[in-house]
Amino acid sequence: MTSDALTGGFAKAPQQSARAFRGLLEVMARPGTIHLLEGAAPPAPLSVAAGVALLTLADGTTPLHLTGAADCAAVRDWVTFHIGAPLVAAEDADFALGRWQDLQPLHRFRIGQPDYPDRSATLIVEVDRLEAAGARLTGPGIKDAAHLSLPEVAAFRANRALFPLGFDVLLTCGAQVAGLPRSTIVEDV
């Protein structure tokens, strides 16, 4: 285990995870908004926001899929020590973490069952920039329309077509986080 694995978790978990969750709730409930997640220092290449999201939502009961650069010894050790999530293949994951191209193909991720659409994966996508510009978003949580820089549009349109099934997405960049639930209608501008 790398020595960094032991550091970088929450110092005051109850309060820090509570604040982080409120940020996550806001971005999922208001697609297109961007919040800051703070309080943890995960090892590279994880963004702070991705690390905080994992600390807040994942644990020993939620299988996690790491992919691309995120699937490295430093991150695996850190996850094992602070989160305890079993590391699994894409098909079995409650959470998946990586860059957009590394998460492909997306059809591997769970989209829920017709009677239990909640049993679906949440993808934490590391992006290089995150801003309220780009693709047009409409749907629940959005007054009129919002805009968000997305890695692509087609995949989200295909995911929306599965509703109420589908995966849900958190986009992370540094300390920034945005949410894109399956309910959002995404269009090119």
Binding site: Q15, A18, M28, A29, T56, L57, T61, R182, S183
Partner: protein, 296 residues
């Protein structure tokens, strides 16, 4: 045991972190699928099932130390169960509390939506006794789950139409079923149907917790919520045909209070904060007295 040591004996907002994570995951899935009831492993709380254990767990999972919490039951902040739940969170989370709807960041409610419009940044948490809107038509969970899956809501329409045939109108006055974003039929909790129009297109996040039935569901902000009705019998958000006798409000939901043995009645706002605010602003109803600079 002193109150201080009692606070330290339990985690922030009472629940342990693993439980909060489980509830938080359920809330996010609920937000992603508006109106769908997410099963969650409800814990046994130190208050009885049916008394807000679902709402309390959702609130506990949402609270941050900086929150200002408001708790209402029947629209009032001073009903005993509201007092009890508010005290629970003061003790276990140390959060500030308020009775003012506009100042609250999290509002836990039983049976009402506040009259004052909610704003972005606020969360409204509903206590839900029976989350399944189809339950009174079909007692089996295995059946109703299938009905939601297949969007088989015909039975509900038949029931509502039978009401019209028998009574001339839909004879459901509270817990009036709604359809969320054209997909899931949802129980809005036992709010009077007067409150139904506030469910849709609301700026706040609305979360619903049913502890005993182990379900969490959500209505994100600015979400389409339609009360079920028929073209020839449109939904009407009704209330007592009176004004508030204390503050004179014309459009607020009213409690009917019996004032003497002869059966005299007066009507007062069920939302105590709303009524107080109006009276403080100088509004006086039929039986009210002008307030000189504050609540008596």
């Amino acid at each position: 045991m002193t109150q201080a040591s009692e606070t330290n004996a339990y985690n922030f907002a009472y629940l342990d972190e693993q439980t909060k994570r489980m509830i938080r995951r359920a809330i996010l899935k609920g937000v992603a699928v508006p109106g769908y009831q997410v099963p969650f492993a409800s814990r046994e709380m130190p208050m009885p099932y049916g008394w807000g254990t679902g709402g309390v767990q959702v609130t506990a999972a949402c609270l941050v130390p900086e929150d200002r919490l408001k708790v209402i039951d029947q629209g009032a902040d001073d009903t005993t169960n509201a007092v009890s739940i508010r005290k629970f969170f003061q003790r276990t989370a140390g959060v500030a509390v308020t009775e003012a709807t506009g100042e609250a960041t999290v509002i836990q409610t039983r049976h009402r939506i506040p009259e004052t419009p909610l704003t972005e940044g606020q969360i409204l948490v509903y206590q839900v006794p029976i989350p399944e809107p189809l339950r009174f038509l079909e007692p089996r969970e295995t059946e109703t789950r299938k009905m939601h899956e297949l969007e088989e809501y015909g039975l509900m329409h038949v029931k509502l139409y039978e009401d019209i045939a028998r009574h001339g109108e839909i004879a459901t006055s509270y817990a009036y079923p709604v359809k969320v974003e054209g997909r899931y039929v949802m129980d809005p909790s036992p709010i009077p149907k007067f409150d139904n129009p506030k469910l849709g297109d609301n700026a706040a996040i609305q979360l619903f917790g049913a502890g005993r039935e182990q379900r969490i569901y959500a209505v994100p902000p600015y979400t389409q919520v339609v009360s079920l009705d028929f073209d020839d019998h449109p939904f009407v958000a009704s209330k007592a045909p009176h004004d508030c006798d204390l503050c004179g409000a014309k459009g607020s939901y009213l409690d009917e209070v019996i004032t003497d043995d002869a059966g005299s009645r007066m009507y007062v706002c069920s939302d105590t904060d709303f009524c107080t605010g109006r009276r403080e602003a100088g509004h006086v109803g039929r039986l009210g007295v002008a307030m000189a600079g504050g609540v008596a």
